[in-house]
């Protein structure tokens, strides 16, 4: 059942490219704003780069999850989905994994413009940077999809997503910035392993909470 739901999410995105494209364009606009507002020495920008990168991802993912749920409202598709004999926790899991895939695709495309537009060098350990980024994306999306699922059918959902999502995801943003700073500065793994534990804890707690709560949240 999970794979059918995941296939549905990927198929819709493959046809419309709505989520990835909107996140990508929004991300590029944020990089442009960063470039114009941080015209300072390369050392200062290098120090701030991980923080700027994850601020961009935070904004972009809030937009992305809102899009991924808002098309479910068209023709009342979500009501039809939950009236089908589907474990509702699986809906959360499929949205979570597909959201992570879309965010990762978007990040892989945007990472080079991010570093080049800010006149920075690409991370020397690029593979490690990407691998940790995928783990962080899982954590961000585990929170974002749960929040978006809660407020999806509420009025003012587009306002409520960032208001609830940003404070809840704050430990992920702290950990993500620390991990990326550690990798960019080529610090040994021991110096940033604690932050990986924070990320893994968030993934476990929110994935379990999302899987369990989605049954209740989506009740008619």
């Amino acid at each position: 059942m999970f794979f059918i739901l995941l296939k549905k999410e990927l198929f819709i995105e493959f046809r419309t490219r709505e989520v990835v494209l909107s996140m990508l364009v929004f991300g590029l606009s944020i990089i442009l704003a960063f470039a114009f507002t941080s015209n300072v020495s390369k050392v200062i920008v290098t120090n701030y780069a991980p923080g700027m990168f994850w601020i961009m991802i935070l904004f972009v993912s809030a937009l992305g999850v809102h899009r991924s749920f808002s098309y479910e409202k068209n023709f009342d598709a979500f009501s039809m989905l939950i009236s089908a004999p589907v474990d509702r926790g699986m809906i959360y899991l499929s949205k979570w994994i597909s959201g992570t895939i879309f965010l990762t695709i978007m990040e892989i495309i945007i990472i080079v413009p991010f570093f080049k537009f800010l006149l920075l060098d690409l991370p020397s350990n690029f593979i490690l940077f990407i691998l940790t980024m995928i783990l962080i994306n899982l954590a961000i999306m585990s929170v974002a999809i749960l929040v978006s699922g809660i407020v999806m059918r509420a009025n003012l959902s587009e306002v409520l997503v960032p208001i609830l999502f940003f404070p809840l995801v704050s430990p992920v943003i702290i950990a993500a910035t620390k991990i990326s700073s550690g990798i960019l500065a080529e610090n040994p793994y021991q110096l940033w392993q604690f932050w990986l534990l924070i990320i893994v804890s968030i993934i476990v707690i929110f994935a379990l909470a999302g899987y369990t709560l989605f049954d209740f949240i989506t009740e008619e």
């Binding site: 306002v159 430990p171 909470a209």
Partner: protein, 223 residues
């Protein structure tokens, strides 16, 4: 439903709590020792820490009420959750006001991203969202479920927020930590008395607020 304070037990409880609160103010002002390097500023801790305890206790009640609401589908637990969220936010606001008032003379600045205050602030922001969804959520039955979910995930997030803020910037958090358990008896006992009185105040406020929300719901349902 008769008014809350028409019940004799509730009236007696109110008088006892009122007397205890007056005693608490007197006790903190005149019966506690002056700490040499903090002087009057230290006295705020007899209000600040009990407020934090009651605030977090209240948010814990929101989480438990949310879980029971999902399991039993009984509206009473939604009312308990809402009442606890409102009272918790009042006490958490008090923490966020008294914390910087104490910190300004002691640390030299009102805010230094101290882990406990930062966790409190983040939780406060989450609860602003909680009340927004209560107000703008739409369908009343759905809103109850949304609010219960937020109450649960907000409290689950607390230990991780605290841990991450604690290790986030150790260099700006190198201030002396005030551990109440290590204080001399002259400070510890008035503090524990204040803690008990604040908890009693909380119980009265919670029962009163639940009663008021129930009356309000009844009026709305009858209209």
């Amino acid at each position: 439903m008769q008014p809350f304070f028409h019940n004799k037990n509730n009236m007696v409880f109110l008088i006892v709590i009122g007397t205890l609160l007056l005693f608490n103010i007197y006790n903190i002002t005149f019966n506690t020792p002056m700490v040499p390097d903090q002087h009057w500023a230290q006295k705020i801790f007899y209000v600040h820490v009990p407020s934090a305890w009651v605030g977090f206790l209240s948010y814990f009640v929101v989480m438990i009420a949310g879980i029971i609401f999902f399991l039993k589908k009984n509206d009473y637990w939604d009312t308990v959750g809402l009442a606890a969220a409102e009272i918790g936010t009042i006490f958490i606001s008090l923490v966020l006001i008294t914390g910087p008032i104490w910190a300004t003379p002691i640390w030299g600045k009102p805010w230094i991203w101290e882990p406990r205050l930062t966790t409190t602030f983040i939780l406060f922001l989450i609860y602003i969202g909680y009340f927004m969804i209560r107000s703008f959520g739409g369908h009343i039955e759905r809103v109850k479920r949304y609010a219960a979910s937020i109450g649960i995930i907000a409290f689950l997030d607390v230990p991780i927020i605290f841990l991450s803020v604690q290790f986030w910037a150790p260099e700006i958090q190198s201030h002396p930590q005030v551990e109440m358990a290590n204080q001399p008896p002259g400070i510890l006992f008035p503090f524990l008395i204040s803690l008990c009185i604040f908890t009693l105040v909380y119980i009265l406020m919670l029962r009163f607020r639940i009663h008021v929300i129930q009356i309000k719901d009844k009026v709305i349902n009858n209209v």
